[in-house]
Amino acid sequence: MKRYDIAVVGGGVVGLASAYGLVQQQLKVALLDESDVAFRASRSNFGLVWFQGKGLGNLAYVRLLAQSISKWPAFASQLRDHSGIDPNYRRRGGLNLCVGEIAAQRRRAHIEALHRQQGDEGYRCEFLDRPQLERLFHPLRLSEEVLTASYCEADGHVNPLYLGLALQKSITELGGHYLGGYTVRDVKPVAGGGFELRTDRGTVGCERVVLAAGLGLSELARKVGINAPVRPERGQIIVTQRAQPLFPLPMNGFRQTEEGSVMLGYSKEDVGLDDSTEVPVLARIANNALKAFPQLSALRVVRTWAGLRTQSPDLYPIYAASSECPGAYALACHSGITLTAAHACLVPQWILSGCMPDVMGAFGPERFGV
C-alpha cells in the first residue's frame, strides 16, 4: 500500500492549492484526483480573481478575500517559476457595469454599505462616470444605458485552465505525487493514527487527510465526522470567436481572454447535478451583453457551456478540522480561484500547526448546526 504524510482528496483548485502549499513543507504529499467524469468547477468558471462587491454582512469574508488578493501577485510569479507555465494572472482592476438607473442606484448603495462595513480594511471601489468609461473603452461603444461602473484596483483575472495545469505540474516538480483516477470511495481512520483511503485504484494510506472534493465533499466528510453541506449551483457561459482586444478590463459577466476569446456570463440556477446548457438562459445572457455593448453582435458564438458551483448553505467557505478523527480536514468554497493564493499559504499553516489561522476562523461548519 502506498503511504504518504498527507493525502489531499480532490484535484480541483482548492485541493491543488492545498497540495502545492503542503509539498513545499518537506512532506510526502499525494493528490488524489477523480477522473474526467467529475463535475469540475475549477475548469468551468469565469476566471475572475475578484474582490469588489463581495461579503456584505460578513467582514470575515472580506478579510479573507483581501488577504488572498494581496498574496496573488507573488503567488502567480512563484507558480510560474515552479512550473514554467504562466497562468496569465492580470491585475489591472475590474469593473461592475451598471446598465440603467436602477442598477446604478443599487450598486452605489451596495458599495457604500460595504465601505461602511470595511472601515479602513481591504480595498475600496470608486465610480467611473460616462465620459471616463467612453475613453476607457474606445473604440468599443457603450450603449446609452450604461450610466456608470464601479471600479476596484484589486480585481483581476486568470486563465483557470493554466492555473490548474501550473499547480499540478508544480506539485510533481516539487516531489509531490499526482494520482489521477484515484476516485476515493471511503475514508477509514486507522487505530493508532492515520487513515486508509479506499480508491478505484487500490488503498492509499496517510497520516493526515485533506478533503477538498467539491460537490463530493459532503459524503466523504461525513465519514470523518464532519458536517460539510454543499450543493451545486449551475452557471452558463457563452464563448465567442477570438477578436482584437475589446475590453480593457474584466467585468461582471464580461471577460476577454489573453488569446482573444470573449466570455459572456452568467446564470445562477438550482437544478441539481445537471451541467447542460439551455437556450433561454443563453439568450438572456446574450441579450444582456448586447444591452451594454451593441457591437458584440458582430461576434460569432463558438461554444457555450455550463459549470456547477460548489455552494454552502450561506454561500461562504467551509473550513473544518475533525474532532472525531484528528488529522482529517475538509475544505469547500465557491470563489476557489480568488482564494487560491490564500489556500496555498493558509492550509499548510493550519495543518502543520494544528491551529486554524484567524482569518479562516469564521468559516467552521458549526454555523450550520448539527
Binding site: 461603444r141 470567436q241 477570438r242 477578436a243 482584437q244 475589446l246 482573444g260 458582430a298 461576434l299
Partner: protein, 114 residues
C-alpha cells in the same frame, strides 16, 4: 500545386475578386477556398496563439482552417462561401478584428453561402 482540369475551365464564366489587394480572376460559382488553392498561395490565415500558417483542408465546413476576412468581416469559412464579383478577401493574421465602425451585421454573403 492546384490547377483546373481543362474540361472544367472550358467556357467558365469568370469574376474578379481581390486577395490581399491583388485583383485575381477566378471561375464564377466556385468556392472561395477553391479560388485560394489555385491562386498559387493556398494559405489563408495564421493561428491566433502560435501564428502557424493554415489553409483550406477539409473543404466542407468542418476544420475552420480556411478562415479569411471578407469585405472587412473576419472568420469567414472560405470553403462555405462562393466567390462573387468584387469580393474583397484578406488573409487573416491571428484572431480576426471585428469592424467597430458600424453596428451592421455581416451580410452580402448570405446568398452565396453554400
Amino acid at each position: 500545386m492546384f490547377r483546373y482540369i481543362d474540361a472544367a475551365r472550358h467556357g467558365a464564366r469568370l469574376v474578379t475578386i481581390t486577395i490581399d489587394g491583388v485583383a485575381t480572376t477566378v471561375r464564377a460559382g466556385e468556392t472561395l477556398a477553391a479560388a485560394l488553392l489555385q491562386s498559387g498561395r493556398p494559405d489563408s490565415r495564421t493561428t491566433a496563439v502560435s501564428h502557424q500558417p493554415r489553409g483550406p483542408f477539409c473543404m466542407m465546413g468542418i476544420c475552420f482552417d480556411c478562415l479569411v476576412s471578407i469585405d472587412g468581416w473576419p472568420n469567414q469559412q472560405a470553403c462555405m462561401i462562393r466567390v462573387r464579383e468584387g469580393m474583397r478577401v484578406e488573409r487573416q493574421e491571428g484572431c480576426g478584428c471585428i469592424p467597430l465602425g458600424t453596428d451592421a451585421l455581416p451580410g452580402g454573403n448570405d446568398e452565396a453561402s453554400l
